[in-house]
């Protein structure tokens, strides 16, 4: 274990920065696996209740606003793009670009939340609420409140992930500004990127399942 | 312990019971063999090869394919046998004969009620004729309960808003225990009853005498209902509150209600408390009294009221 150079970011228990980076990446992927299973529980609920009440799902999904959902899909995909590009910018040591791209990602994430807010408040207004708060009368099939319980828990958990993502992006943004990263070491941005893409990936499935399938 | 039973089981009082027990003993003796093999073997080695000094050489036996295959394959075959056997008995348990007599079972906190086709109804006491298949159609009014008769080796959960069924055919007369085995709160361990298996004649006689009222004077009948309908599991008459208010001196008492008003206990209030208990709730108590709508008939409520008047 002779470390020729011992950079400040290298933790003592790793032999070299390559090992450190690979370990971090592996850890991140394992964490993403737990995220998939966390959401998986909700997907399971979706599948089971959909199989039980197919007509109700068809009827209830119609009250969701497809243009809003589609717009949000575009927003999230764009934010995924800016996130990926920010990492690439760091790989080529373009710190300024990284900063701007991270800021763009943050703004897009905020846009996503704003659009979601409008969707939510519209539903609150109409009484399309989960469970016992459901008062909307426009759906004839039995048990529509279940659909909204599932809709709100799924999008709510996803929204929570967006918020957490924003916090983490802010953190790496600050560290970038503080010159902590370089083309040699940018693991935290890369890990944040992986997380952010997962959030996008989950939305890619939520969108058709909730808004589109009739 | 059950005098007809063994160390492990109560007596076998249902056609399925012998099947279950036979499989049980098979799955008992077979592992006892393996148990002796594994623990006996290792205890024997521990003694035989106990350390006698530092310089005993231990050979590096790394594996033995034959042995390893042996103890993978043999248990696999054995568990297949166990599975198929358990599965077959399970099928019998599940498919009731078409001529089975149907009884409706309702579980609620914390008693069982049984409703017969002929209009008879009982609480915590299931009366059935011997040698005749009985199919229970069960549902719960609140949380999940589970209906268990050890003597018959049958058990099934009783769910809210849904029916489950359970059938059996008793092969001997007598009294058997009946338990609730799904945890359902404070009175879970009091949610027990009896299954009375009687001859065909006795059964018919019982049925006719139970479908109508009672010959007893109302106060006495009420006292029986107080026990029989499990009021006593929440109300006691020695003056102490239990789950519900005490019945000592209840008639004419003033009660503060959670809606702020005060009320004097009279016939109407009692009737309402029994049929719509959540409508008016006494201060200091949880609104957990179950409704007796459909469980108690009008004359039974009258009898209960008559009895409550006498509790001073």
């Amino acid at each position: 274990m002779e470390h020729a150079e011992h950079p400040s970011y290298l933790q003592h228990h790793f032999a070299d920065s390559q090992q450190q980076e690979e370990t971090a990446k592996l850890g991140m992927w394992i964490f993403l696996l737990t995220e998939v299973l966390l959401f998986g529980g909700l997907f399971a609920f979706y599948a089971i209740y959909r199989a039980w009440h197919p007509e109700m799902f068809v009827e209830a999904h119609k009250v969701l606003d497809i243009p809003m959902g589609a717009l949000n899909t575009f927003v999230l995909i764009t934010s995924s793009l800016t996130m990926a590009l920010s990492i690439r910018a760091m790989q080529v040591n373009n710190k300024k670009q990284t900063i701007w791209l991270l800021v763009a990602t943050l703004l897009l994430a905020a846009t996503f939340l704003v659009i979601k807010y409008f969707e939510y408040s519209h539903k609150f207004h109409l009484g399309q609420l989960p469970g016992k708060y459901y008062t909307y009368e426009g759906i004839t099939a039995a048990n529509p409140h279940i659909f909204f319980s599932i809709y709100f828990t799924m999008t709510g958990l996803h929204g929570l992930h967006v918020v957490i993502g924003m916090a983490v992006i802010t953190w790496v943004l600050i560290r970038t500004i503080k010159n902590n990263f370089s083309s040699e070491y940018y693991t935290p941005i890369e890990m944040t990127g992986l997380y952010w893409h997962l959030v996008d990936l989950i939305w890619i499935f939520l969108f058709p399942l909730l808004y589109l399938i009739g | 312990m059950d005098p007809n039973g063994t160390l492990f089981f109560p007596g076998q009082s249902y056609t399925i019971a012998s099947d279950v027990d036979a499989l049980f003993y098979f799955v008992l003796y077979l592992p006892i063999f393996f148990f002796i093999l594994v623990t006996g073997g290792s205890f024997f080695f521990a003694w035989k090869y106990r350390r006698k000094g530092k310089d005993t050489f231990t050979p590096g036996i790394a594996n033995h394919t034959g042995l390893e295959i042996f103890w993978t394959v043999i248990p696999t075959i054995l568990v297949f046998i166990i599975f198929v056997w358990g599965f077959k008995t399970y099928l019998t348990m599940n498919v009731p004969p078409s001529n089975a007599m149907e009884i409706k079972v309702t579980g609620q906190k914390w008693f069982w009620s049984f409703n017969y086709k002929d209009g008879a109804s009982t609480t915590n006491e299931l009366v059935v004729p011997v040698n005749e298949p009985v199919n229970l159609l069960m549902s719960s009014k609140d949380v999940i309960h589970s209906f268990f008769i050890p003597g018959f080796r049958v058990k099934m959960d009783v769910l809210p808003n849904r029916y489950t069924t359970l059938w059996f055919e008793a092969t001997e007369t007598g009294e058997f225990d009946l338990f609730c085995t799904e945890y359902c709160g404070k009175g879970h361990s009091e949610m027990i009853g009896k299954v009375k298996v009687v001859t065909e004649d006795e059964y018919n006689k019982w049925l006719t005498s139970n479908s109508g009222g009672s010959d007893l004077p109302p106060e006495q009948w009420g006292a029986e209902l107080f026990k029989g309908k499990a009021c006593f599991s929440c109300h006691i008459i020695d003056g102490n509150p239990s789950v519900g208010p005490t019945f000592k001196g209840i008639f004419g008492r003033e009660e503060k209600l959670t809606n702020g008003s005060t009320i004097k206990v009279d016939e109407n209030y009692i009737r309402k408390s029994i049929l719509e208990p959540q409508a008016e709730v006494v201060v200091g108590f949880q609104p957990i009294m179950p409704t007796y709508q459909g469980v108690l008939k009008d004359d039974e409520i009258d009898a209960l009221i008559a009895y409550l008047k006498t509790v001073k």
Binding site: Q11, H13, Q19, T23, L26, G27, I30, E35, L38, F39, G41, L42, A44, I48, G131, N143, I146, F152, L157 | M1, D2, V20, V27, F35, V38, S42, F45, Y49, R50, R51, K52, G53, F57, T58, P59, I61, N63, E68, W71, T72, F83, W85, G86, F87, T89, Y90, D142, I144, F148, P150, K155, M156, P160, N161, D177, Y183, G185, K186, S189, I192
Partner: protein
């Protein structure tokens, strides 16, 4: 090797802060050890109260409500606060990096964070006692849990938080095993304990998130009535059971797999013999981990799930028995022609063989549907799971604790007292729980505060047994604590074991190993060592 009086991880840094902010896996392991021991004591006290109340039918000294809270707390504390973190997070944290020759786990900060999350979870769980203790049973079945007026939310929040602690430990261990093995240590040169911890971590990361989301939904159901578990609103309470057991069945292997890892170490070390069927034991750990996800429905045979599901789950259940059996047979074969020394850790290992076999076989009985219909929710099940959890995991945990105690603290405990304590625990345990098999098959339901008179003799015997059991543990607490102050200095390798943790000093230095880690043999190459070091002649 340096003298044992030198600097080590315990004395290099001083003060409470050096503990609370430590990133050293050994110190975090020790902090976990404190946490789990306190939890065990607490859970044990609840257990003794339960047994006291059950001494006689009727109300003896606690009310029905208190009793229900007692078994809920007993179950929840023992499971979530004690047994799940006990081996992986406490002992595993300490030994895993040492065993693979690493300086630390992959993510030391995450490791410390999971300890804090554990503490926070514990606080939530224990807060529920103050806030009107929960009475749902550790299984939290809906709709009881969504309607009872007790503090279910803080307890489920606690379990949820503890779940994250467990997930992070799992993430950490997997990354550590993949990336931080010392050069030359290939997968099949890892000690079996490491394999077991790895398999455990796989279950932790795959199953625990589902528990997390289930508990969140339970909280939402309770707080906002979202209706998915509520039959009156078109939901289905049986779904809760599926979701719960999808985690909690694999969780029983989170408990027992690392225990089995310890037993592999103990049997090989105290037999001073190469472990028999190394690869098969390693593979069977992985097999158990994977199969464990296919069998959860065996807890639901009477729940009203479809008959088809019961049959499929019953069928799959039997397959976990086979890899477990393979391990038992291989341990037995390891002892063959060994040179066995019955030091206290080995005595724990022998008890494990005995008790876990009983626990496992009764598990097989319960897997057969028609038997389970009769046994479900009776004391037979209670006896089964205490034989596997207490007789299996807890016994293995204490075996491991005694085995690594000299390494952790650099002190030896009183061996005679240790032997007496194993003996008391073994006898007391069988008295307490073997009786419960009879109780259960006779029809005594579980979670009963009161019972029919005919069960009294057996219940009383079981309660007496629990006193013997408690005496064994009190004795153990005494000599272990005593050893910390007055114990003899421990040599670096008191048992003559071969795995790497015994090559460093006792207690280890801050960075685990001084200088380069030398890996000159496999973890169980006793025969080679005997020829080379001890100059013994092969017979």
């Amino acid at each position: 090797m340096s003298s044992s009086a030198s600097v080590n991880y315990l004395n290099e840094f001083k003060g409470i802060k050096s503990w609370l902010f430590t990133l050293d896996h050994k110190r975090i392991g020790v902090m976990y050890l404190f946490g789990v021991m306190i939890s065990f004591l607490l859970g044990g006290v609840f257990a003794v109260v339960i047994r006291l109340e059950l001494l006689n039918p009727g109300m003896d000294f606690i009310t029905a409500d208190t009793y229900n809270q007692m078994f809920t707390l007993h179950g929840a504390v023992m499971i979530f606060l004690f047994i799940i973190p006990a081996i992986p997070a406490a002992l595993g944290n300490f030994v895993l990096p040492l065993m693979i020759g690493a300086k630390d786990v992959a993510f030391p900060r995450l490791n410390l964070a999971s300890w804090y999350i554990y503490v926070i979870g514990a606080v939530f769980a224990l807060y529920s006692i103050v806030a009107g203790a929960v009475d749902t049973g550790w299984t939290f079945y809906a709709p009881y849990s969504t309607t009872t007026s007790t503090s279910v939310i803080s307890m489920t929040l606690g379990a949820f938080t503890l779940g994250f602690s467990s997930i992070f430990t799992g993430v950490n261990f997997i990354a550590t095993v993949h990336k931080l093995r010392t050069p030359g240590m290939t997968w099949f040169k890892m000690p079996l304990m490491v394999w077991a911890l790895y398999a455990t971590a796989v279950i932790q990361i795959l199953a625990t998130p589902v528990l997390g989301i289930t508990l969140v939904l339970l909280i939402l159901e309770r707080a906002f009535g979202i209706g998915i578990f509520d039959a009156a609103m078109g939901g289905d309470p049986v779904l809760f059971q599926h979701f719960f057991w999808f985690y909690s069945h694999p969780a029983v292997y989170i408990m027992v797999l690392p225990g089995m890892g310890i037993i592999s170490e103990l049997i090989a070390t105290f037999s001073q013999k190469k472990i028999f069927g190394y690869k098969l034991i390693a593979y069977s750990s992985m097999a158990i981990a994977l199969i464990s996800f296919l069998v959860w429905g065996h807890h639901m045979f009477t729940s009203g799930q479809s008959e088809l599901a019961s049959v499929v789950f019953s069928f799959l259940t039997f397959f976990v028995g086979i890899p477990s059996g393979v391990k038992m047979f291989n341990w037995m074969a390891t002892m063959y022609k060994g040179r066995i020394k019955l030091d206290s850790p080995m005595l724990w290992a022998m008890s494990f063989m005995f008790l876990f076999a009983i626990g496992g076989f009764t598990g097989i009985m319960l897997g057969a549907i028609s038997i389970d219909i009769h046994m479900h929710d009776t004391y037979f099940v209670v006896a089964h799971f205490h034989y596997t959890m207490m007789g299996g995991t807890v016994i293995a945990f204490f075996g491991g604790l005694h085995y690594w105690w000299p390494k952790i603290w650099g002190r030896m405990y009183n061996e005679t007292l240790a032997k007496i304590s194993v003996f008391l625990v073994f006898i007391g345990f069988n008295m307490t729980f073997f009786t419960q098999f009879f109780l259960g098959s006779q029809g005594m339901p579980r979670r009963y505060y009161n019972y029919l008179d005919k069960f009294q003799p057996l219940h009383a015997f079981s309660s007496y047994g629990s006193w013997v059991l408690a005496a064994g543990f009190v004795l153990m607490a005494y000599y272990l604590i005593h050893s910390l102050y007055k114990g003899e200095k421990a040599p670096n390798n008191p048992w003559g074991a071969l795995s790497l943790e015994w090559q460093t000093q006792s207690p280890p230095v801050h960075h685990n190993f001084e200088g380069e880690v030398v890996l000159d043999h496999d973890p169980y190459d006793y025969d080679t060592r005997m020829v080379i070091d001890d100059k013994l002649i092969k017979k």
